[in-house]
Point group: C2
Chain length 387, copies 2
């Protein structure tokens, strides 16, 4: 299989974008990526779009054709494919684009992610998000996502001794990182008290433990590695693109305190990349809730099981620490337009590896990782990228 490189990136501001439509957001991110890669639309050979639920949010399916059309890419009638795996849709769009280039079917490919969530009210948004869980065995009996992750948090605290303060520190650290990211939905710094005193959502999770409802889009341009230097002086190479599934419902899992699909996708990724955990300099992980980041850094193998909370409180996952996690602000502070998140994670890592991350720059970052979760862990996608 051919090696693949990322030669262009684009990402909109994340937030409540009242004055921008689904179509506007996609076009903005796509054009930024094309400009960054210095390619014209005529050079693009295929498009992969990650989107969770435009059907439920906007009553619009056939998203591949829509985004190709409104980006002007139908002049070449390029193949355009929408992929979906709930909140991991963006990660899947990235992996699908990588496979398409690796296969030799296409040379210059855009992988993009998009979600427009704020055009419906909070109740409908929650219901659309609940469609990432098992509708028949979870959602219909009232298990919302905050409720499901609250059970994981409670189990993690009970079994592994993780404290309320350690969990809250994830939000504090990610808001601190987000305060340095011009794209972030929330740029305000907070304290552990802010989190612990915020309204209760699903015990023990409070408002500041939860990622927000967000609009946004992101895109990357992929090419065969041997052609990368035609497009940029600083290509970022794809060292691994792996994916794992698990039971869609939480109650069928081996454990409430680990996400097995993360463990397996990560094992596959490190094997594929022939790299060690210690060689990762920066990572974007799926912190849809604060507890999810603690589970992720443990399941990815950056910390022993149960050591994620103490490491977070000790600052080891902040910029300047042992392994900076979610320098973008993560889902918590940068925002979580579900279909876009997996691509935004790659955009952040590419900026870090290029040395273009400004105030958020991790010194000497050479290798980075992205970790994107669908639902409570029914799908996990991991990518390892390197200079």
């Amino acid at each position: 299989m051919r090696e693949v490189a990322i030669v262009g990136i684009g990402c909109t501001k994340f937030g409540e974008m009242w004055n921008k439509s689904f179509r506007d957001l996609f076009i903005e991110a796509g054009l930024m990526a094309l400009r960054d890669a210095e390619v014209s639309g005529a050079q693009i050979e295929a498009l992969y779009g990650g989107n969770m639920s435009a059907g439920m949010f906007l009553e619009q399916e056939h998203i591949g054709a829509l985004i190709a059309d409104f980006s002007g890419l139908t002049t070449n009638n390029i193949p355009s494919t929408r992929v979906e795996a709930a909140c991991a849709s963006g990660g899947l769009a990235l992996r699908s684009g990588i496979i398409a280039v690796a296969s030799g079917y296409h040379d210059v490919v855009i992988s993009a992610g998009i979600e427009k969530m704020t055009d419906v009210g909070a109740e409908k948004a929650m219901d659309a998000l609940a469609s990432a869980a098992d509708r028949e065995w979870e959602a219909e009996v009232g298990a919302t996502f905050p409720g499901l992750y609250a059970m994981m948090a409670r189990a993690h605290m009970h079994e592994l001794g993780t404290t309320r303060e350690q969990i809250a520190q994830v939000a504090v650290k990610n808001h601190y990182h987000g305060s340095m990211n011009p794209r972030a939905q929330f740029r305000n710094k907070i304290t552990i008290d802010t989190v612990i005193n915020s309204p209760l959502v699903a015990d023990p999770l409070r408002l500041f433990d939860c990622s927000p409802i967000t609009d946004g889009a992101a895109a990357v341009v992929l090419v065969p590695a041997e052609r990368a230097k035609e497009f940029t002086d600083t290509p970022i190479y794809v060292k691994a693109a792996t994916q794992a599934s698990d039971t869609i419902s939480l109650h069928d899992r081996r454990s409430l305190t680990s996400i097995d699909a993360t463990i397996i996708a990560a094992d596959r990724a490190f094997k594929m990349a022939r790299l060690q955990r210690s060689q990762i300099n920066v990572a974007e992980v799926h912190d849809c809730f604060t507890i999810a980041e603690i589970m992720a850094i443990e399941d990815l193998g950056f910390f022993e099981k149960g050591a994620g909370g103490p490491a977070t409180l000790a600052g080891e996952t902040a910029i300047g620490g042992k392994i900076p996690i979610n320098t973008s602000g993560g889902l918590k502070a940068c925002g979580h337009p579900v279909g876009a998140t997996g691509i935004k994670q790659a955009v952040e890592i590419v900026e870090q590896l290029r040395g273009d991350a400004g105030k958020r720059q991790v010194d000497g970052a050479e290798v980075g990782l992205t970790h994107n979760v669908g639902g409570t862990g029914g799908t996990v996608v991991v990518h390892i990228l390197a200079r």
Copy 2:
């Protein structure tokens, strides 16, 4: 890129399956394909699932994880990816699986398609289907799919002289083919009078010009061609897998009487396969409405523009004719569970090329083609398969 072969097929009965759920249907088709290929679930390395709109039909997204889970494939935590392009979702799942095998990422892959449409009423089903059109510029001003295809039919009659009888003969021929297919939703033979005297839906299209609302699922097993003989004595080889997009809305197109994405995807396919139109012995084309089949056989290059109607009336597209079209009964008589259709087309062609099509067998079929359309032609996927 590696060559790919189909070594297993499975397809449920199509129809109003009141006693089978989305999950039941997928499992049934998947197990049939595994048994046919004589592979165990443990050998499957990845899953691609085509589904248009479980979000709107069942309030369920995260379809990849769901189908992997309920098929028992999460024991290996295989990557499972849902793809969507409205009614071309199944064709895309096939092409995505082929690319995954061609890339070397995975060896033994299932591509499946599924739709459960009859759990909601006709009005909600029509609305879900309308999400394949441009919601803002078509559906919201009342353009349903029968309405959009009626405009194409009217233009085709006006510009090319196609007659009401010629169009009706598509349904007559497909019901005749369906009468010999145990999987078909409708197995009753009809006459031109049946069509012409059926209730008007959108002038000039009548009830018997329209494909039905259907439940069903289908699956195929894909492997690298060099490994095909490990699984079967009669592998069917993928000669081409191509895809093209166009504007999502009909009013932006060059023509109302052709689907350009069909013309382009077919040109790409014949170039990739290094075959001529005259070498195709049997084809499954996207007859969501009768007029769509006439446009398809012209746009694919089997007949000159304007010659599709007369050829149909002359019996050239029936079994025994010049090029048998839709031996399964097509979308019209076999049924149209939208996400499953593209895979069912491949299942039918594989049966024909294996010589296993029973009463529907096209003598000496060596090469077959499938043609799957999303919406009014925003996405088209074409495959060429050969013994």
